[in-house]
Subunit: 391 residues, 2 copies
């Protein structure tokens, strides 16, 4: 046996056969004894009660999901394991986005590697680790990334608060090479400055790529609001597609400084207006535009905050639809906890309150380099609806 | 008052304020008396019990939804009404599909014109009418289409069995100009022969345009099965994108004859294989391919057939996933009655039975020239899920 054993009970075996990747204490036979024998974060061999091999995973008794599956085959989890997984993932991404140098290489459970996120920004690799088990494997991850990409730099952007649940510290660190923040990259022909050290998440939200492409196609000749713009993904895709003018609205002055910089290097300075402030507030007295895109941060971060968060989405969509005389409205949510149906309901409620008709002409999900694992519903988080409105 | 009055009761007013467009007998005040006074199919003025004007609609007491709303404004329903509605709809379609000559101009309730479908195939217009009320307005429709498009021909493709519920005969008729069936048109740079007289529905399924575009992008260098191909929409988009070979499978020998013709005129003859027969049967011993697209006809045509139809979808998706060693699977449903969640469930069940992992990399809906009316859920009918499979 490669690693110390963890035995699933009947309930755990069911979960395993349901092809989920996470297991709780209640799904493990003799959990207490097991957790005394295994150090937090260790690799383990997963067995059935009948002693059949089921897989390899990592174990952290302090975490609610104390066991996570890494492989259904009996294999060492080492540099070779990651190199093979990354090679496969890279092949798929290259078929998704031929010619593109920026993409998500690994989307944790969506790529069957729990706890690991890897974003590639041309020569800079940004890694996010969410679990103790994965943190213990970080050297293998880094070595495999070096071999596959010969990057200029690898950044560990380990500042996600989720890590605290696993007892992990929050930090950002360049673990290999050098990086000058922000870095200059090109996506879909647009130059972006991505703050891989000081930015949100890994520096850029790659998960909106297809939605940006789709929405930009509508925007030719139009005036656009890019609400919660961050460094301007949606807005710049629109400008690339011939939008007349884009209002970038964000709370972060730093993000808007980057918007201005990006506008300059793409020669769209005169088409860009930045508005620093609260989107909710600005939408109450908005500039007149033909298209409004609202892509807020997650308002619902846990089960406990569903009601309160939903209220925020509802208010936001209402303000957006109200601000629009005629044209396109796009509302997004990156809260896994907000179901598509609820999002749509809030839009319906707004249309009724405003007594206007809307035609739904778009439903979008996260980009395909953020694959959804059909058995881990948390991996489906990004949703968006687009309407055409004529008052 | 422009037209004889129909008065909504409290329940009907609720429906009206909910922005639905359909009303049942139970939502009309003094339904019996009203239906004695109004001839089936007549235009009516819709009023509240307090005698407030609510809208204009048409009335057919023999139909379950006996009243359908055409306008919330007090206006004559005549050639001018349709000309204005079509002009608006055309403007939107041109912004959706610049440079394209084939699109759906009117998608009934999705465009707030119940009972009317209009597809434009360059110089040929195909009209489908589903209700008696709309059939009575057909001359206005035709005149407006003539003014707007100066078409070579207008075809009334009134052979949908839904018409029988309204007591309407089934027929196909060229009501203006001349047409040689099939007609040659170009969509997204591909030449198609569309059987506007003898084909299914209006001759071509325009509702899959965005999904065809999206899926084609995955297909470069691949071998593909286009199951339930009809005249080959998906397969030809894949060939245009560089697919190596496409197997078109359909029950209809006539459809496959057109596939062969279309292959010839696009110079893809050597890349096309047609297989006439039952897709379920052929998938049991399938050619080895890298991509399988299954876009079956509606297996669920009414509430009564949900269970039986769902079983068929489940079996089909299972066979498709089983047939694939590694690569892309796309499963569609055009049954309004099959919910997205159910479709996904069938795919999950299949993955579990086959004990393979799949990454969801695509969710698709109907094309945007088939807008969804958020208040008429029947207008949301087309769904698809795409997975990447590695066994």
């Amino acid at each position: 046996m490669l690693y110390p054993p963890v035995v699933l009970n009947k309930k755990g075996l069911q979960t395993y056969l349901q092809r989920h990747l996470w297991f709780t204490q209640k799904e493990i036979k003799d959990f207490k004894k097991t957790s005394e024998k295994i150090a937090p974060g260790d690799l383990v061999t997963i067995l059935s009660e009948e002693n059949h091999f089921l897989g390899i995973g990592y174990f952290n008794p302090q975490s609610f999901y104390c066991l996570k599956l890494l492989s259904r085959e009996e294999q060492k989890i080492d540099e070779k394991f990651f190199l093979e997984a990354f090679t496969k993932a890279l092949k798929l991404r290259k078929s998704f986005y031929p010619g593109e140098g920026c993409f998500r290489l690994v989307f944790s459970e969506g790529d069957f590697i729990p706890g690991l996120i890897v974003d590639i920004f041309e020569k800079v690799v940004v890694v996010q680790i969410h679990t103790l088990g994965m943190e213990r494997l970080v050297d293998f991850v880094i070595e495999a990334l070096k071999v596959l990409f010969t990057p200029q730099a690898i950044v560990l952007k380990n500042d996600h608060t989720k890590r605290q649940e696993e007892g992990l510290p929050l930090y950002t660190k360049v673990v290999y090479g050098n990086v000058e923040d922000p870095i200059l990259v090109t996506m879909d022909g647009i130059k972006f400055l991505v703050p891989v050290i000081t930015g949100q998440k890994t520096g850029f939200f790659l998960d909106q790529r297809e939605n940006r492409r789709a929405i930009a196609r509508f925007s030719k000749g139009l005036q656009v609001i890019d609400g919660f713009s961050y460094i301007g993904g949606f807005g710049f895709y629109c400008l690339k597609s011939g939008a007349d003018r884009v209002f970038f609205i964000d709370r972060s002055a730093n993000a808007l400084l980057l918007v201005e910089e990006i506008a300059k290097i793409n020669h769209w300075k005169e088409k860009v207006i930045t508005l620093q402030g609260d989107v909710f507030h600005i939408l109450k007295n908005p500039p007149k535009v033909d298209m409004i895109i609202l892509d807020p941060p997650a308002f619902i971060k846990s089960h406990k905050h569903v009601l309160e968060g939903e209220k925020k989405y509802e208010t936001l969509y209402f303000l957006g639809l109200k601000a629009l005389e005629r044209g396109f409205f796009f509302g997004f949510s990156c809260s896994h906890f907000l179901k598509f149906e609820r999002l749509l309901n809030f839009i319906k409620t707004s249309l009724k309150r405003l007594q206007v008709d809307g035609k739904i002409i778009f439903k979008g999900i996260q980009a395909k380099d953020h694959p959804i694992n059909p058995f881990v519903e948390e991996t489906f988080y990004l949703k968006g609806v687009g309407l055409y409105i004529e008052k």
